[in-house]
Amino acid sequence: MLWYTLRRVAYVLPILFGVSIVCFSFVHLAPGDPTSAVMPEFASPELIAQIKRVYGFDQPLPVQYFRWLGAVLSGDLGVSIISARPVWGELRPAILNTAQLAIAAVAISLLSGISLGVLAAYTRRRATDRAITTTAILGVSVPHYWVGMVLVAIFAVTLGLLPAMGMAPPDKSGFGLNDLRFMILPALALSMIPTAIIARSVRATVMDVRKQEFVQTLYANGLGRRRIFLHVVKNAAPSVLAIMGLQIAQLLGGSILVETVFAWPGTGYLLNNAIATRDLPLLQGTILVLAFFFVMMNFLVDLVQPFLDTRIKRQ
């Protein structure tokens, strides 16, 4: 297991290095001077030079990259050009806000995705299965921000039951019912796609496992349905887990569209803002941290999988 873990770590490091190069160079592909969009017309040449010097834009790109990488490795993601606040100071609350939403969306996705997938697999080619499969296809096909708008139109505008946007006002008593209320609609919108994907993959995997010989043997041995069901779930878990890992990582990365539609100040909202204002330090920092989360989430899934499926450990 140690060798397996070390090998996974060895895979992760070059990926992270590659991610850092990609996220640095991509944001510099946009034409034009990174400072020109943020400087007013009458900014003096001295002020322009000063801003370029402070942000390092006066250096060649490779020098900028290695300086940035060095700073990142020492925990400094730089300072936002627009807000003048440290990038990490901007990112930290955004990550926490997205995490709140992501946890709620993950809970909804896992609960509903797994239940629907298993139900569909056990009612194969019957009306329930068809209804679930059709809903799942719709869930993957319909844009989640559109679903968000529809939810807002129904539950906030027409019925007035839930808030249309934003987070609950800060409250010294900590996370409470009011926070949950603001979270329901964006979490539901965000969970649409992962629910559908998880439901489809669980259905396919469970059906596949149920066809396998060992299940027939268990039936033949007279095991109860519940115990056989547990065996099926255990065997279906590794492949489902891999898909869930990807979905969770994506949810943790935030959604630009859903967070913008709900004015939810998470990482997606931050990213949208950074793109719109060409705030390069914020853009680079946000992409890097989100990519890091994504890689780490997959790394964790890789580590957990052998415990669920010993064949992977043996390989």
Binding site: S36, M39, L47, G222, T260, P265, A276
Partner: protein, 569 residues
């Protein structure tokens, strides 16, 4: 199957059946109870999550004005905000004061400048460069300290002197346009200020409306740290910052001791929420989550009105134009083509598409504006006259003028750029102008505008669809010329060069009486219109949505608005 295995299997099934049948009655009853309890719990949770939402808000005694801005973050709160007019409108003018301000009390005329922290002023007649201001006495910052002339000098240094301890490059960047003509400032005494300009600048008062006064004492108190100051700012404005959560909300409370009793806020509290998405703003208003919404999309206006909300709209110094390239390779170097393009647009029909929320442009400003003057070129829809002008210039349906314009898909003041540009493209084609469009994001377009038509990236580009503010004389009118010197950075995108225009542009800078200056600006404007330096399309009316119980709001003809007069009834 071997006998032993059969027995084993039978015993498994039997045990399974027994375990299921033994407790059947009890478990069904228990299940039913659990189910009911669970359902109750779900319903109670759902009820408690949903029910008190509107009720809870209605029960609040404190009057709170909740504002949805178009920005995606709370603008800088240190004194010189970012975020363009939104930043100025909601943060600068709420927390701070400048030496001069805008008269935002009336909706029926363009807002003019009024004294604010400065009460009176005079200009040295001989040099025309030295201004003396008498400052208002008894003005206090939110931290309780008294505003003096020394604070003005301190704030100027904050924005211009790199070696001053209070220098803040982020604020300096925001103020770079406003202090460009100032050479020095000194405090003659506590309430007398002297400002010397590099050259005579009759429009200085307009520029001073955008330089806001932060408290030097508060800056010292927070450890000379602008980052900390942003969260505990102190100005002299009608609101005080109570709390700030970046990208989420800013809560402002009434400054009951504000020096101008007419502008002490009528609500206890104001909450600013960034909401860049127009649909979100509309939903927030319709669901009662906010009371005041900026930039209502025209399509949402009927629904907002039908819901018992108010829609306010008014003209303001905004123009939706095409800035034209006057470079040698541009067809627009010929006045006939420029005029033809102006006559090709059916503005009335375009305004119908915008649900009436715009007015046809006759120039940079509306005809009732003091800077309109008396242009002879009447901008209207006259396709026959346009065709005739093009024919005189050697163009026609078989030989159309080929031009390429830049546009953005969205952006500050850009209204509905996609549909508007497509509509105009069709208009142009009908008279013999083949107009192609290159779309880009707003910041990219901004970058291309600042670079000017002469720059390498803009080679082959003949116009740029870029909304513009005519609130300030230099920004709006004088900057569109060379006024006898070099091209004014960024403003004169198309490099329009004309000695007569330069001569007219120089006059208001040497005129210090506002009425007379308005006349000089009118002469310049009339000349710019007669030369058809741009294609002027429409002026936006900036629709805003207000909750039905908001009273007292007057939508001034300005980029700024006074939110202190709003009452909640």
């Amino acid at each position: 199957m071997p006998a032993s295995l059969q027995e084993k299997s039978a015993s498994f099934r039997s045990a399974d059946r027994e375990s299921r049948s033994a407790g059947v009655t009890v478990s069904v009853a228990a299940d039913a109870l659990k189910r009911r309890a669970f359902l109750k719990l779900i319903l109670a949770s759902a009820g408690s999550l949903a029910w008190p939402y509107r009720l809870g808000h209605a029960q609040t005694k404190e009057t709170v004005l909740r504002v949805a801005m178009t920005l995606s973050d709370i603008p800088l709160t240190t004194g010189q905000s970012d975020g363009g007019a939104d930043g100025g409108r909601f943060v600068n003018r709420s927390l701070y004061d400048a030496l001069f301000s805008w008269d935002l009390s009336r909706a029926d005329r363009p807002s003019g400048i009024v004294p604010n922290l400065a009460e009176s002023w005079s200009v040295d007649a001989k040099t025309q460069r030295v201004w003396t201001f008498k400052l208002r006495r008894g003005v206090k910052y939110h931290d309780g300290s008294v505003f003096t002339a020394r604070d003005v000098v301190w704030n100027f240094d904050k924005l211009t002197k790199e070696d001053a301890p209070q220098y803040d490059r982020h604020q300096a960047r925001q103020a770079a346009n406003w202090l460009v003509s100032v050479s020095s400032a000194r405090a003659v005494d506590d309430f007398t200020l002297e400002i010397t300009t590099k050259e005579p600048n009759g429009t200085l008062l307009y520029e001073l409306t955008s330089v806001f006064m932060s408290s030097p004492r508060q800056w010292e108190k927070v450890g000379r740290d602008w980052q900390k100051f942003a969260f505990q700012p102190s100005g002299t404005g009608p609101w005080k910052l109570a709390s700030l959560v970046p990208r989420n909300r800013a809560e402002l409370v009434r400054n009951s001791e504000y020096w101008n009793p007419k502008q002490v806020p009528q609500t206890d509290r104001m909450v600013l929420r960034p909401m860049p998405d127009a649909t979100t703003r509309v939903a927030a208003l319709l669901s009662g989550q906010v009371d005041f919404v900026e930039a209502l999309p025209p399509d949402a206006v009927p629904q907002v009105k039908a819901s018992g909300m108010q829609v306010h709209a008014n003209v303001y110094p905004h123009i939706w134009p095409y800035m034209l390239s006057h470079m040698p390779d541009s067809p627009f170097k010929y006045i006939r083509i420029r005029k033809a393009a102006n006559l090709a647009i059916d503005r009335e029909k375009l305004i119908k598409l915008l649900r009436g929320l715009a007015v046809p442009a006759k120039g940079m400003v509306t005809p009732d504006h003091p800077w309109f003057g008396k242009p002879t070129f009447d901008i209207k829809y006259d396709p026959n006259a346009a065709r005739k002008l093009l024919a005189e210039a050697g163009y026609g349906p078989k030989n159309p003028v080929k031009v390429k314009f830049l546009m953005s898909a969205a952006g500050s003041g850009q209204m509905q750029p996609l549909s508007m540009n497509e509509f105009i493209q069709e208009n142009m084609r009908e008279v013999g102008i083949d107009m192609s469009l290159e779309s880009m994001d707003w910041e990219a377009l901004r970058s291309r505008r600042m670079a000017g038509a002469h720059s390498a990236p803009n080679k082959g580009i003949h116009g740029i669809n870029y909304s513009w503010s005519i609130q300030y004389p230099i920004f709006g009118l004088i900057g569109q010329t060379f006024h006898g010197k070099n091209r004014v950075a960024g403003y004169n995108w198309g490099n329009f060069g004309d000695p007569r225009a330069d001569e007219l542009a120089a006059k208001p800078l040497r005129e210090f009486d506002i009425e007379e200056q308005n006349k000089r600006l009118g002469e310049l404007h009339a000349y710019l219109v007669d030369q058809a330096i741009w294609i002027w399309v429409v002026h936006d009316m900036n629709p805003r949505g207000l909750a039905g119980n908001l009273k007292g709001f007057v939508q001034a003809q300005s980029w700024f608005q006074d939110l202190t007069r709003i009452r909640i009834e």
